[in-house]
């Protein structure tokens, strides 16, 4: 598989995915 960092678009897409993951972790942290 090609390294997504080879292209700026790949890095930005990964950045958005990381942001969503981070938001979900914060949302569900310390629940229950």
């Amino acid at each position: 598989m090609k390294n997504p960092l080879e292209k700026l678009e790949g890095a930005l897409t990964l950045g958005v995915i990381l942001t969503v993951v981070m938001v979900l972790i914060i949302k569900y942290a310390f629940a229950g």
Partner: protein
């Protein structure tokens, strides 16, 4: 040290943090959105204008702005009393707010580490500031470029968590 806890001092440190951060991330995005994609379109005889003049100047302000952003940011977190809890990602006090800003702080710290210990040493080789063999120059340039792009990737969640802290 009481004057550092004054509301105006807290605001002033935040302003210095934001000011430094604009210069740091602004130059990071200049490298990734403008300079790197433009290099292949520049004729060979004109490339030294970038590699010998513009890039070294941009890198100077880039790396010192990174350090300045981190220092003012840590002072700000200390002033607001959450530096320890945020760096522990909120696990010590079960705080979503500290987890949120903590993610941003760690991402910022990783990015600043990359600037000083990966991007800058490799750029010195790539730009000929540190003389190395042609193979090593190409390898260093690629490493600097990929790390710079990695930081651009991290700048997305980093900036989000820095400004989203009031949501939690």
């Amino acid at each position: 040290m009481n004057f550092l806890m004054d509301p105006y001092a807290v605001f002033f440190v935040r302003w210095l943090h934001v000011l430094s951060g604009i210069m740091w991330i602004g130059l990071l995005w200049y490298f990734n959105f403008v300079q790197i994609p433009s290099m292949p379109k520049i004729p060979a005889e004109q490339k030294p204008a970038i590699s010998k003049v513009i890039a070294p100047a941009a890198l100077f302000w880039f790396r010192w702005a990174a350090l300045s952003t981190i220092i003012w940011g840590l002072i700000q977190a200390w002033q607001l009393g959450y530096v320890h809890d945020a760096l522990a990602l909120g696990f010590l006090d079960h705080s979503k707010r500290d987890m949120s800003i903590g993610f941003g702080m760690w991402l910022g710290l990783i990015m600043a580490f990359n600037v000083w210990f990966i991007i800058w040493p490799n750029q010195k080789k790539a730009l000929g500031i540190t003389p190395v063999s042609p193979e090593e120059t190409a390898k260093a340039g690629r490493m600097a470029m990929l790390t710079s792009r990695f930081n651009t990737m991290l700048s997305v969640p980093m900036s989000y968590s820095m400004v989203a802290v009031h949501l939690n």
